[in-house]
Structures are given as C-alpha cells and as structure tokens.
Symmetry: C2
Subunit: 642 residues, 2 copies
C-alpha cells in the first residue's frame, strides 16, 4: 500500500541527484555556520536517506504525531544535520532560520537530535547504539498495537545506524531480541563507511556484520554502491517484503565528494572550512547560495508530503469508520495514545494493602497485578528476573502472539531499558521493566535518556541493599540509590510498606512526563502505615528513613521515647519531598551511600563501603543497621550536644 | 607442552565419573548447608570443568600467583560452588571448613567468586558477561607479555560462560575485540543448558551462537553430550591448536542427575532440599558423607597438582636462566609484576607543567606521554576517542604485533573497562582507558568491579561538564562526577591546571590497590598553580571548587576581596580531602550535581538539570557559571547573614 502510494510520484534521476546534493550541502552549510558538528556522515548517507524518504517513508509533515506514521530513527545521532535537512525539505515546522541556528542556544536544531525539541524527531540519539534499540522498541510496539487494533496500525520502523552503533554492546541485545520476536517491520540501514573517529574501522573491528545479524535471525542484504538510489530502493522493497527484521549494509564514503577528505576520519567531526566547502560545491556543480533547497527539489518534496497527507487522511477516514463500529475500542485507542489514566486505578492499588509483613517487591507485584486489570496499556517485563523482582505478568509476547502484555527481555538490562524508551515514544503504552537495583548500572545510559526525553518509563529495582545477603558485594547496591537521585528528572521512590508501595505505583503511573525508579526490598518489612511516626509535644529528634529502614527508625524512635525524647519518624518516599525540622536533631537511616543525606541531617547513617556475603540480617548487623547500633550513634550525637 | 605434561597422568573413566560426582555433590552440599545458592550450574558443568582441570589447565595450587599459570574464569559466577569445589580438590588453601561455611560472613567462600578473598579465584564474577570480557583482557595481556618476554610467557586463558553471559551486550564487545585481535590462546566453554532464571532460553533468545562467534572470527565447535569427557577433551585440544580464539558449545543439563528437577529452571537458584539431595545421591550410587572427596579422586588431584608444581618448577628454572642472561629484563619483569614504580616518574610528570592555558585533557596527554617514557608497563587506549580525550599513545596492538602499548578498543566502553580489569588482574601492566565523562555510564558496571577487586585501573574521563557546549545534553554530564564519588574505593580526581593534572596522574599511578577516575576538561583553563588562593588575615569566605571551575572561584574571590572580604580559594583535587573552614562562609562551585556538596558548604553552586546545545561559554553562562552570577549568589547569602 505504501509503495502504491508513492510509486507514481517518484522523482527522476536528475531530481534524485539534486535532492541528495541538497541534503549534503544543507548539512555542510549548517556545520559551517555553527563552526561545529559532523558533516561527513550526512554527505555519505544522503542517498540512502533520500531513497528512504522519497520512496518508502509514510509520514505527514503537517501531523508529526499521526499514530500510524512510519518511524524514522537516526541512530547515528551525530549526523543530526542530515535529519534537520530532511525535515526542513519535507515541510516540517523547521524553517531555514533554524538550520542557520544549528547548535545554538534556544534553537530547534541542537547538536544531537533531541526528542521534544524538533517536530519530526522521534527520539534523542547520539549515545551510540541506543537509537537502534529504541527502533526495536518502536517496532515491537507497532506489532503489539497491530495485534490490538489491526484496523488502525500497520507501519514500518526505519533506522540508520553507523559503525559505532554496531560496536556497542546494546546493538547485540537489541538485535537479538528483534530477531527472536520476529519484528519484520523493522528495517535497519547500516551506513557502512568504514570510518570511526580515530581512523578506519579496521583498527578495532573485523566483524562480519551480515553474518552476525543473520545469526540473530534477521534478513540481510547489501548495497555495494551507497550512491545507487535504484539499488537502495530495491533492497528496501525486498526488506519490507521479508517477514524477518532486515539489516541492509550500504557501502558509503564519509564526506562524499569532499576533495582530499572524503573517505577519511577527517571528514567525521569538524567543519570543512569555507574554502574546501566552496571547492566541493564547485566540483558537484552546485551553484546555489548556502541553505538552498532548489525549486525542483522543493516541488518533489511538496508532492511527497502531499502524498503523506493523503495517506494520513485515508487513515483518519478509516479511524472514523472504526469509531462508528467500535466506539469503545476507539475511545480506548484515543485514551491510551493520550496517556490518560482510566478511573479506578487508585482504588485498585489501594486494594493491595494488607496486614502481613512482606517484602516491598511482593507489595509491588500485587500493585502490578491490580493495575493490569484496569490499565490494559500497561505492558512490560523483566531482564530475566520476573519471579525475583515481583513482576510476573503472564505469558510473554512471542512472534506468534503479540497480543500479550508481558515481555521476556532476557538477560539484557540495557536493551530492555532502551526498548522500553522506544515503546513509550511510539505511544499507546505505559511501560515497566525490572531487575535488581545493583544492575541499574547496566541500563543507566538508557534510563538517563528516559529522563532526558521525559518518558514515563517505570523502573522496578529490587534487592535494594546489603540485606540481599548471601549473594555478596557484587549483588549489594551501595551508591546506587544516590546515583539515581542525581539524574535530573528521574523520580526515585523507596516505599516502606504495602501502603507506600501503592502510593509509589500511583505516583509513577500518574506521571506522564518523566521516568520513575521504584526501589524495593528483597526482605520482608512490617506494615507500619505511619503508626507512631508522629509524637505529641515538642520534637527533639527527627529520624528520616526510607524503605526497609523505616521500621528500624520506628524501633529506634520507640527506644528514644522511653528515654524521654520527643521523636518523630519521617518516611518521605521521595527524598526530594523531605524538609528537615530545623529545631530538632535530625538523623537519616538508609542502607546506602550517605553523601546525599549529609547535607540534610545532623547524623547520616548509611554505608559507604562494599558489603559482604552472609545471611542478610547478619550483614545488616555487621554494618550497623540494628536498633542498638543506631541508638548508640544517635546518643553519641545527643550527648555531644549537651 | 601442556598436553605432554598431563597426558601420562590422565584419570581413568571410573575416576573421571567419581571426580565429576565429587564436584557436583560438593556444590550441592555447600548450597544445602548455606540454605542458599545455585546447585544446578555446577552439577551440569562439572564434566567440562573436570575435563579442563584434569587434562589442560596448567597451574600450581601451591603458588596461585605464578605468573605463567593458565587462567580460569568462571564467568557464570553464580556457580561459585563449582569453583570452590575444584580449588579444594586440587589442594588450594581452601580447607573443607570453608566449603562448610559457604556464603557465611567472614568465609573464603562468598556467594559469588570474589577476587582477593579466595586463593585461585582470578577475578570477581557474578555480574553477567564481565567474566568473559575479563578473560579477553587476560588473554590480551598474555599475548602482550609473550611479545615482551617470550621465554617467560606462554599460557592459556579459559572461561566457562552461561546463557546470561552471552545475552549481555558486553559479550558482543569483548568477543568482537578478541576476534579482531586474534587471541588464539583464549578458549571459552559455553555451558549450553538452555535454562535461565525465568525459564527456557527459548523464551527470550533465538541466537545461533556458533554462527555469531564465527562472525567475530572465532573458531567454533560443539559437544553434543556435555557428560562426554573424551569429546570435551578433544574439542579443547583442537581449540588450543587453532590460531583463533575458540568458542565451544557444550550441551549440558542443568541440575544433572536430580530427579524431577534436572533440565528446568527449578534447578537454578535454590537448594535441592535434604530429601531430594539424598535421592539424587542414591541414584548416582554416591554413598559418601557430605563434603567428601573420595580417596581415588584425592589421589588423582594430588598427582595433577604435583604435575602443575613440576611445570612451575620448570618455569622457575627457565626464569633463572633468563635472569642470568638478561638481568635487566628479568628485574623489569619482577618490578612490573610487583606493581613497583620506577624512579623518575614524578620528575617526568612535573616536566609537563607549563604556562600556557590549555584544556586539562591536553595536560593529561602530556602526562601520559611523559609517563610512558619511564613506565613501559603503562598500556591502554580509548573507546575510539584517543584524539579527543588526550590519550594518543602510538600505533595500536594488532594480531600481528602485540609488542605495542596502545590498544584501540573501538566504540566499546563497557568492554574496554572489563578488558582493562582483566589485564590488570593478569599482572605486569598498569592500564588506562578513556572516553567522555558522560559515557562513564556505559562502563560503570566494570568500573565498579575495578573498585571491588581493588585494581589500579586509571579511567580518563574528559569533556567533563556542560562546557562541552554544542554537542548538547546527551553529551553533557550532570550527575556523573557525583555518581562516581559514591562508588566505594574509587579515587575521583578533578584537576584544575597542568600542575594539578600532573599530581593527579602521580596519585593514580602510585595507587596500587584501587582505581582512579581523572575528570578532565574539554575547554582550556589558565595555569593558576594556586596563585592567590590564600589570603592574609581572617577568612570570611572560603570558596571550594574543582577542575575548570577553580579559575571561576579565583575570579569571584578577587571580586569579593575588592569589597573587603577575606577570601580563600580551595582546589581539593579529591573532594574527600576537603575539610570546610568552620568559621567561614563556605561556597562550592562545580559544574555538576550539587547533592554531595550540600552537606559540606553553606552555598553549593552547581547544576541539577540537563544542559543545552550551544557554544560552551554561552551554555555555562546560561546555567549561572559566570563571575557575576556566582557573586550575586554569594552576596545574597552574605547579606542574609548580616
């Protein structure tokens, strides 16, 4: 259908050439004006990008949020000028002034593509490999949405990746998962220019990439001449017809057409310079002023944009028919696309609160099960720790059944988080992923992008302290909670019982503009529900604690009260919400790094060294997490004060 | 040579069977006694481990530090009981009491193998995939040492990896690098048991692993029956003869021999229980008490240990001959193995200090070049940012020339760090690796292991703040310095000029028991050398800053002094060394997260939100890093105080 739509309007050979030069020179002009950026990638990859955008990509520049558009991800994000040029040429809301302001403060054309800053940019890229993984997430979301709304969803996801993307480990995790799940609507173009920043790819890599992707179960193909529009077009057509995800190696020359520089790492990351750019344009027979889009190219792009608008209109008509026949399903589609929560979530979560002591990972499992019943768009899974982390969610999605809600991510934390980002960006879903807190390190680069892109991904991190015990220091987080708190825009919540866990899940799901990390215990905790936290009369000591240490705080408070002190216990859930009582002696207890607490309280009790292997209670005691040990610390401070 | 040595003493079929049962039941007994751990992996992998240790591994249990021993890495670290059993059986200093104390506080048998805790444990494993990458580092160090000391170095590196190791992205980075560098003395056995924690591997992975490793340039083989000692032995022999790194898939059954449980994920991570273990032993015809090593096995292991001691003695004799002929080289070998620095390092580093403003990444490049001249054991490289990070170090090691000192790690940060760990553990080298600070996130799990294993790896992190400018928020670290400071045992140094950078390198290299992160600027800084930091008379205001913000602190101090305040500037290099002046108003300036400073000073100036794309100076100004903006903040605080 896509092809039928576009075939009649395909440009002539001459217009192709002109359009490709337009992309390359727009990029070179941007980098030149900014005196900063990467001209080589856009100049080499312009033919494949043009072939894709002129012959295959189904999109409506006037409606960049159209749910059934094809997705395009520039995983090699340093080539941002390529993307900005295309968006400008096709009539997205990106006027030429924005291109002239490339890489300037306040522009819509930052150094790397930033989701939310530029219409048509589907995700933030630049940290290598993650674009590929987000494309996998988008392609998975597409198939899952197709299973739920076959009438409304049928699009492709395309990505352009560079050598750096393919060297990064996340490319393995993402490509392996895509092959396993048979994501046939994913088409990846490899800008095979054989150059990295430090020199030729051959300095550090000898992979047979086609064989590698074939080993993941992908369809593979190669285009020997990356300027051959016809060959690229045919490869794309075959890729779309193949039921497997597709990987197309396109042999290109970085900085194509720049005399003396093309094909070398010199073309990668610096402006060409006025003189060299002028000579390059001369050699190409390009006699337009900087930032030009020649009239024939303008016309062709307008025609393609119009065809995209038509496709969009056809889809809207189809949606109307669907709505007429399935009003409820259509409303649900709209609701989930709009990230609007249904009624009843709060009640469902409140229903999970019980009286028996249990680990907050178990409380969280109850919340997830309750939320699922009212929130069909809530999907997710674990990096092979569903049972341990309390994220059992039914049978997982397979290539034969995308209608399920659980995803078995495998032992691929980083891939999981990036795929979740892609799914969230695709729209229609609220997503979660789980692992042990100590392995938050493995997925941290993608979690940071969740925050930067303001995606409401929910991270479930369990086994949150040295209390994990026998598995030992490799599995015992120390600085991990603190290292999450320093990521801007990440909501970090550490609940202490069923009630707080239910609140934490509600806060995580009510949030639509940023990620949340839930920090949960392996070991059981009592159901305190704030009982005895407040005290009548003046407060001499305020003990603030989170998670599993709140019960320890309560126990210390009880002991201090017998000594006549007025003691308040505070469980802030999110440390950012805690304001110390300036008139009291303040004490924090958290089984993790103290560095972020030291500025808030008088006595910060935590652990700033690695833990040890032993039964959890013994390890906690060994590191001073007992009522007596904490009491001694607090008394020492109080005695000093008198 | 190894083979000739061991062949005469190979055990009989009956003894093999007995030894394999011994390994399996020792592991099961340990897990049972601890009521915690992973019995399934050891029971399934015992035959391959026994075959390797009885027919191929060249080691001297009485001398676990022998430089030319073969290395054995249990990458599937949750199977620690397998390794402890072997070490005990072969006579390492690990008596049966330690096996009985498996996973107990203070034992030498922690839940996962911990380097430094147990003789014979070559590295800390458990965080999946990293063991494989450390084995690659050990194998690379072996080849590099062989190139330098062919008479003294000729050993193999073996690793057992699980499905989890192979799903992790780091397996891609490490295997790709090993293939590229042609590390033929590396042999990896894959415990192909088809089971992960959550169920069958088929839930989440369909990779053709042999094809994948072949795509990296590895020799591959498979053993269909993982209990077939003869077949495993032959595969190992062929692997050692092949010039490529080798990957051998060994089909096993997790929890082999346990009725009703073998071959399922139930065998993975829980004790079998007394009754089931008893039935398993009965079915195997095993009638020894718990923790037994039957006499025939004891005898065979003693013989193998004796053969290893002989091999070691032969090597020592060879070393004596070498020392007689090459006294200087032998002394150098001893010195580097002992991590002893040569004279002249301090002088060499001091010689890099100049007067011209430059980026501390450039100061660091000068230090590296100077250090290299006196420290031949200093080797390392970059994750494809050698030029940008100031870590140019000559032509890199190739499969045809291992005598070089530079390593082109490719765009593989995590792999780089884990390989550096492996090289450091191997011995004979001081190692460094570089990338942008923002990509410290990509390698964080391995950096944490550097700290846990107390390896003196030097991490060079440049482009250390929003001052990187145009590349935008994806490339601008915010919480990164703080997130490194919360890793126990990691020395974090942020120098402000040439002189401090030279000190930082000296501190990094003088440290032998832990890693260091050098945090360096992209932009030029003036050569302050502490000029004007101190003030005569009483100190009213103390401004503490690090790195590129020290010159800003000096400028603010100068302005405040004109207003009559006594102002001291402190550049602590390592924040841990800073003690605030209790009688002064204290102000910190660091272009990063403020959370760790807030506990130390009255006014913490930093940045707790994401940056923006624009020229570096403008971005800094936008976020308040100008003399005027800082002055205004300080004045506001001082005014409030009066």
């Amino acid at each position: 259908m896509t092809d039928v739509l576009h075939r009649p309007g395909i440009p002539s050979v001459d217009t192709d050439r002109l359009a490709i030069d337009t992309i390359g020179f727009l990029a070179a002009d941007m980098v030149e004006a900014a005196d900063s950026g990467h001209p080589g990638m856009p100049m080499g990859a312009a033919p494949m990008a043009w072939t894709l955008w002129s012959r295959h990509l189904r999109h409506d520049p006037a409606a960049p949020d159209w749910a059934d558009r094809d997705r395009f991800v520039l995983s090699a994000g340093h080539g941002s000028a390529l993307l900005y040029g295309l968006l400008h040429m096709f009539g997205y809301d990106l006027p030429v002034e924005e291109l002239r302001n490339f890489r300037q403060l306040g522009s819509r054309t930052p150094g790397h593509p930033e989701y939310g800053e530029t219409p048509g940019v589907e995700c933030t890229t630049g940290p290598l490999g993650q674009g590929l993984a987000m494309a996998v997430g988008m392609a998975l979301a597409e198939r899952m949405t197709h299973a739920r709304y076959p009438e409304l969803t049928d699009h492709h996801t395309y990505a352009i990746v560079g050598d750096g993307c393919l060297m990064e480990g996340i490319s393995h995790e993402a490509a392996s998962l895509a092959g396993h799940l048979g994501l046939g609507r994913l088409v990846v173009l490899w800008d095979d220019n054989d150059i990295t920043i430090d020199g030729g790819v051959g300095r550090s890599c000898s992979d047979d990439q086609l064989a590698r992707f074939a080993a993941y179960g992908w369809h593979t193909a190669s285009v020997a001449d990356g300027t051959d529009v016809e060959a690229i077009d045919q490869a794309l057509t075959r890729a779309k017809a193949d039921p497997r995800p597709s990987f197309i190696a396109v042999r290109t020359v970085i900085g194509h057409g720049v005399p003396g520089v093309e094909g070398t790492s010199k073309a990668h990351g610096s402006p060409l310079g006025e003189e060299l750019l002028a000579r390059t344009k001369e050699l190409a027979g390009w006699d337009h002023p900087p930032f030009s889009v020649p009239e024939p190219v303008r016309t062709v792009c307008a025609g393609l944009a119009e065809a995209g608008a038509q496709a969009h209109a056809t889809w809207e008509a189809r949606f109307d028919v669907f709505e007429g026949e399935h009003a409820e399903a259509a409303a649900e589609f709209r609701r989930t696309q709009g990230r609007v929560l249904p009624a009843g979530l709060g009640t469902a979560l409140d229903g999970t609160v019980g009286d028996a002591a249990r680990a907050t990972r178990q409380s969280s499992q109850a919340c997830l099960t309750a939320a699922r019943a009212v929130l069909p768009e809530l999907v997710g899974g674990s990096a092979d720790l569903a049972g341990s982390t309390g994220t059992e969610y039914g049978a997982p999605v397979t290539r034969d059944d995308y209608s399920r809600s659980a995803i078995a991510f495998g032992i691929r934390e980083f891939g999981m988080a990036a795929v979740l980002n892609g799914m969230s960006l695709h729209g229609g879903y609220r997503v979660f992923g789980s692992t042990f807190l100590v392995f938050a390190d493995y997925l941290r680069p993608a979690l940071r992008l969740s925050a930067l892109m303001r995606q409401p991904v929910v991270y479930v991190f369990t086994h949150d302290s040295i209390a994990v015990g026998e598995d030992g220091p490799t599995h015992q987080p120390i600085g991990h909670i603190e290292s999450l708190r320093v990521i801007p825009g990440l909501q970090v919540l550490r609940p202490s019982d069923d009630a707080e866990t239910a609140v934490a899940w509600r806060l995580a799901l009510e949030r639509t503009d940023g990620p949340t990390a839930l920090i949960l215990s392996r070991q059981p905790v009592p159901q305190l529900r704030g009982a005895g936290f407040e005290v009548d009369g003046p407060v001499a000591v305020e003990i603030v604690a989170t998670g599993s240490e709140v019960s320890l705080a309560a126990s210390v408070a009880a002991a201090l009260r017998t000594e006549g002190y007025g003691v308040r216990v505070v469980s802030p859930l999110d440390r950012g919400r805690y304001t110390p009582d300036a008139s009291a002696t303040t004490v924090s207890i958290e089984a993790g790094s103290t560095s972020g607490w030291a500025g808030l309280v008088d006595v910060a009790i935590g652990i700033d060294e690695f833990g040890a292997s032993g039964p959890g209670g013994e390890v906690m005691a060994h590191h001073g997490f007992t009522t007596d040990a904490v009491l001694a610390r607090v008394r020492r401070h109080l005695d000093r004060g008198t």
